[in-house]
């Protein structure tokens, strides 16, 4: 029942509210009027009967005084005029019945005993005791009894009038409310109609018509605004969908394998190129662990990469090997980026794998070529070097100044060339993974001093300072560390075009020694610093474009230092010089 009322149309609700309100008000009014009338009627009847009582009593006094009950009866008979007087009687001063009305009424129906004077309602009757007084002398008492028919008939008359009025008022209220409710319900119904059209037809370009500035008007405005928003959002969704389908097409058509995975390493997408390169289909791989394509000896690579990514580092062009479905290995270069949600939380990683098999083969061929060329060059150079040294000794004996000068210069150039060839050979070995360390214990101070002297000999515009590190003995590949220092010093000279001071500093910290090469040269910008130790990387800068080189020096430096379980670091600001440093283990002091 309650549910039915809730579910009825708003028009019915409004009409119901109006009608219920009207009914309650009308019923209350009629009720109040009836109650008022009831009491007022009672009072009127009381007054009427009392008046009648006073008249009859007054007229009866002589009859009582002169003992003429016949006359008294006759006087009482006058009450016939009022049909509602059902009984009356006169009593003398002793309470003895003197006369009665109607004459044939049984004395049982009359009071046996007189009660106090006055008029009162007893059940369905009004009963009165009126003293009969003649000139202040009481002659007896009149008893009078009236029914309340007149009151009841009047009340029921009023009740039926009230009912009739209520009903006709309700009919009028119904007709009026039927018309008036439309002022409230019509705009709501219109709005509902528009909402239905919109929701059924999915046409969000429709707008509801605002007809008033009340709450329904603002509801209409809000509804229209929502439609506008939906329209805009739909457009945005469409654009996004288009963009993402474009993106998907790009991903699918990419030559590189593009794989996405959860932070836990579960694969969530696998493009066509991934299928082609690694042999697994998307169905096979989505939901699988990324470890499936990582060779057993490189399984620890994954957590390290993730660690680097989580710390905010980018992983770009990370060359490694991956396992194909046929269990062969594939050379790939990986670029891995975190995938973030709108709040910036990492929800996964995207991995772009480029097939670098060909590149690797190319490099191998190049390395082989370099190794062969270097080796072939080294042999004649060694014999040239020994002849020149022999000739230099002879010239010194003969004190032939020009020859000494010329042969010394030739020896320097040969040393340079030897170093260069040594670098190429090291590079080739490094690439092949064939670089071996030949470690020995030696004192650092004289070793550095020797190198400084050699380099200073070539650098006439620059002053090399060397701070003392006497007594420090290290275990390292003496030749290769020598190459490192020679490289760093010659770089310092090369990139300090105006001359100036170069410092080689030596500091001991606990059981380590930090060797730093400090210059006052052009410096290196932040961007270049990152790539400085990459193979064949050369700083492109107007200031240093005249500086020659292959871009392998710092690569070798970093690799040699790395083979000594250390890391080459650089601190530099542009135009303010650079500091390169690395740490080595101290054997003893």
């Amino acid at each position: 029942m309650v549910k039915n009322i809730i579910d009825t149309p708003i028009q019915h609700k409004l009409m119901r509210v109006i009608l219920v309100t009207c009914s309650v008000v009308l019923v209350l009014m009629c009720g109040a009027y009836l109650v008022f009338e009831y009491f007022s009627f009672k009072n009127t009847i009381k007054n009427n009967v009392a008046t009648l009582g006073v008249i009859i009593a007054s007229n009866s006094s002589a009859a009582l005084a002169f003992d003429t009950p016949g006359d008294a009866t006759e006087i009482l008979n006058a009450l016939k005029a009022d049909k509602h007087i059902v009984a009356a009687a006169l009593y003398d001063n002793n309470g003895k019945l003197f006369a009665k009305y109607p004459a044939d009424i049984s004395t049982d129906l009359l009071p046996k005993k007189l009660l106090a004077n006055g008029y009162r309602f007893e059940g369905q009757y009004l009963v009165g005791y009126q003293p009969v007084v003649q000139q202040s002398v009481t002659m007896g008492t009149l008893f009078i009894k009236s029914d309340l028919e007149v009151m009841y008939s009047q009340i029921s008359h009023l009740l039926s009038i009230g009912l009739l009025l209520t009903l006709s008022s309700l009919v009028i209220a119904y007709l009026l409310s039927n018309i008036l409710q439309k002022t409230i319900s019509q705009p709501i119904l219109d709005l509902e109609k528009v909402a239905n059209i919109v929701s059924k037809g999915h046409d969000y370009s429709i707008r509801a018509l605002k007809t008033s500035d009340d709450e329904i008007g603002s509801l209409t405005d809000a509804f229209n605004q929502m439609l506008t928003q939906i329209e805009q959002q739909n457009l945005a969704i469409l654009n996004t969908e288009e963009a993402s389908s474009k993106l998907a097409a790009i991903v699918e058509s990419s030559d590189d394998a593009i794989i996405s995975k959860t932070p836990g390493g579960i694969i969530t997408s696998w493009n066509k190129s991934a299928e082609r390169m690694l042999g697994y289909s998307a169905e096979e791989m989505i939901g699988q662990s990324i470890l499936k394509i990582i060779p057993p000896d490189r399984q620890d690579e994954e957590p390290q990469i993730i660690k680097r990514l989580l710390s905010g580092e980018r992983v770009e062009n990370f060359d490694t090997l991956r396992l194909k479905k046929d269990n062969t290995l594939l050379n790939v270069s990986l670029t891995i980026s975190p995938i973030k949600d709108a709040k910036g939380n990492i929800i996964g990683f995207s991995k772009i794998a480029r097939d670098i098999t060909e590149k690797k083969q190319e490099e191998m061929r190049k390395n082989d070529f370099i190794a062969i060329v270097s080796h072939e060059l080294k042999t004649p150079l060694t014999s040239i070097k020994s002849y020149i040294q022999v000739l230099l000794e002879i010239a010194k004996k003969d004190e032939a100044v020009f020859s000494i000068n010329a042969l010394t210069r030739a020896d320097i150039q040969i040393k340079k060339m030897t170093t260069l060839i040594q670098d190429f050979l090291n590079l080739a070995r490094l690439e092949d993974g064939k670089m071996l360390l030949n470690k020995e214990s030696f004192e650092l101070h004289p070793f550095i001093e020797e190198i400084v002297n050699e380099v200073q000999f070539l650098a006439t515009n620059h002053t090399i300072h060397f701070t003392d590190c006497k007594g420090v003995i290290i275990t390292a590949d003496k030749e290769k560390i020598g190459q490192v220092l020679t490289n760093l010093l010659s770089n310092a000279i090369k990139y300090s075009p105006k001359g100036g001071n170069i410092t080689i500093d030596c500091k001991t910290l606990d059981n380590k020694v930090r060797i730093a090469v400090i210059d006052e040269g052009v410096g290196i910008n932040k961007g270049d610093q990152k790539k400085l130790f990459d193979r064949f990387y050369r700083v492109k800068n107007e200031k240093v474009k005249t500086v020659s080189g292959f871009g392998i020096g710092l690569y070798l430096v970093s690799e040699i230092v790395r083979y000594h379980n250390s890391k080459i670091e650089v601190e530099s600001t542009e135009d303010n010089g650079s500091t390169f440093y690395f740490d080595l283990d101290i054997k003893s002091r």
């Binding site: 007054s58 007229n59 006094s61 002589a62 009859a63 009582l64 005084a65 002169f66 003992d67 003429t68 006359d71 003398d92 001063n93 002793n94 003649q134 000139q135 002398v137 009481t138 002659m139 007896g140």
Partner: protein, 190 residues
């Protein structure tokens, strides 16, 4: 309870008379009834009627010497009431006039009175009294049958063993007393 309650009882015969008498006697305060002076029941009723007339008849103020002058009920000749009438009117007043009873031996003794009771007897004597008090605001009352015919105002008579009243309206008018219509209504009018 009012001190005086007067209502005429039936004048009955035989054993019923006794019962009626007894009932009538009960109307009065026993203390005020002096047994030795109690007249016949008929006269007790008449005494009550005499008193009741004071309530249904009005006298002009000229009938009294002053506003507090006594209201006199006179009895001329033989007195049938004894002291009973005094008992009835004891302490009673008509307006501010205290009611007193005066007895006159003869016509010439009649003084200023408002009600004059003349017992039945010598008809000539009665007629003499009537003419003596005419135009003097006196309500004349008698038991004589033809009293009203002779010009008296009120006479008692018996009907069905009950005491009734007959009134001569012309005589009342001549006497200058006004009789209530209520009394007239229950009376026999000549």
């Amino acid at each position: 309870m009012a001190k005086r309650i007067f209502k005429a009882g039936n004048i009955l015969t035989g054993s019923r008379l006794f019962v009626g008498m007894f009932a009538f006697a009960m109307l009065f305060n026993i203390q005020q009834i002096r047994a030795q002076n109690k007249p016949a029941l008929e006269y007790q009723v008449k005494a009550a009627f005499l008193y009741n007339f004071t309530r249904f008849v009005s006298w002009p103020s000229s009938a009294f010497n002053s506003s507090t002058a006594p209201f006199v009920i006179g009895i001329v000749g033989r007195d049938p009431f004894g002291s009973y009438l005094e008992d009835v009117i004891d302490q009673e007043k008509v307006d501010e006039h205290p009611i007193v009873v005066q007895r006159y031996r003869d016509v010439k003794d009649i003084n200023n009175c408002q009600i004059l009771y003349i017992p039945a007897g010598d008809d000539d004597k009665i007629k003499e009294v009537i003419s003596a008090v005419a135009h003097q605001n006196v309500l004349t009352v008698s038991d004589a049958d033809k009293f009203v015919n002779w010009g008296g105002v009120i006479s008692f008579f018996k009907e069905d063993n009950k005491l009734r009243v007959q009134i001569n309206i012309a005589a009342a008018k001549a006497a200058g007393v006004e009789i209530s219509s209520k009394l007239l209504k229950i009376s026999k009018i000549r």
